[in-house]
Symmetry: C2
Subunit: 180 residues, 2 copies
């Protein structure tokens, strides 16, 4: 599909048909993620593909019970959990840059954007869940040590086209030479 | 251009021709960024387009003097600085999710991926600079209050095609149902 059509047509999808996302589709989507740039090519991403309905149910009900994406997570055939190794990205000779110290979140944002665009290109939809209880989610998914969750993304075939939410104009966020 | 061709062909570019990026190109690239999803559609991005050679020189020499992207930043016709309002993204009723508390970095990663892909689609190249002295950079660009820099991206026309860096295979980062 044409690049601009993909970018302009992607929506956050929270209502899926009963189409079961295949392993071939999962792999095709993740192939696109591989090309994502990352801090010193550290590729700090680890992707959990949840296929087990019980795990999905537990994750949604216990770590994001009141999210706009909870309902679709309970019937999804695939939930992706994008994790990162927090020691791998954002450091040079042990020194953390950017003050915030979480460059892994930036890298994973890039990776998840590639993923969400690719899924749309394949006729699938997804939504990024950011508001979850990470302690509970990590417990359910056996995530510990240096690994953190960046985002949770239920995936499925969209039931319908959704309108584009209102977006700021370029002139509203573009600044020349300095912020002020 | 075909979506997959864009994703697979994009490279981090650190050597530019003397082509001057036009205002029309800048605006076309930023139009693509507008479609990026963000926390509760908060669109917390602010983009500084540096056009003034003196500001570019000061930014590169004082905030990232030894980066692989320093040299191309000194001759670039455009440097983009992607900032975010750290109070806008990642919160619900004042509560910060994800422990790390920097969902803005994730949102900006998504936005910068859209930008870098679009620039490639337009025949331009860019590179994400993450290792910079943010205190100095913020001083130079009049960034204060709740605003933080996520990434700095010099932009230009690539001198040559660069080979694809080695990337992990899907099988190396895909986990089924649980991380371990």
């Amino acid at each position: 599909m044409d690049f601009n059509k993909v970018v302009e047509g992607r929506r956050s999808v929270r209502k899926f048909t009963d189409h079961v996302v295949t392993d071939a589709q999962l792999n095709e989507a993740l192939e696109s993620l591989r090309y994502t740039p990352s801090w010193a090519n550290s590729q700090c991403w680890e992707i959990i593909a949840i296929r087990d309905n019980e795990v999905m149910k537990q994750l949604a009900e216990e770590s994001y019970p009141k999210n706009p994406a909870t309902k679709c997570s309970l019937t999804a055939s695939l939930i992706l959990v994008a994790c990162y190794d927090k020691t791998k990205s954002g450091f040079y000779k042990g020194h953390s840059f950017n003050d915030v110290g979480t460059w892994g979140m930036f890298d994973l944002g890039m990776a998840c954007q590639a993923l969400s665009l690719k899924l749309h290109e394949m006729g699938l939809g997804s939504v990024v869940v950011g508001a979850y209880d990470s302690t509970k989610a990590k417990e359910i998914l056996n995530i510990d040590g240096d690994y953190e969750i960046a985002a949770i993304m239920p995936v499925g075939k969209p039931v319908a086209e959704t309108p584009m939410p209102k977006r700021r104009e370029v002139s509203e966020f573009l600044h020349i030479d300095k912020l002020k």
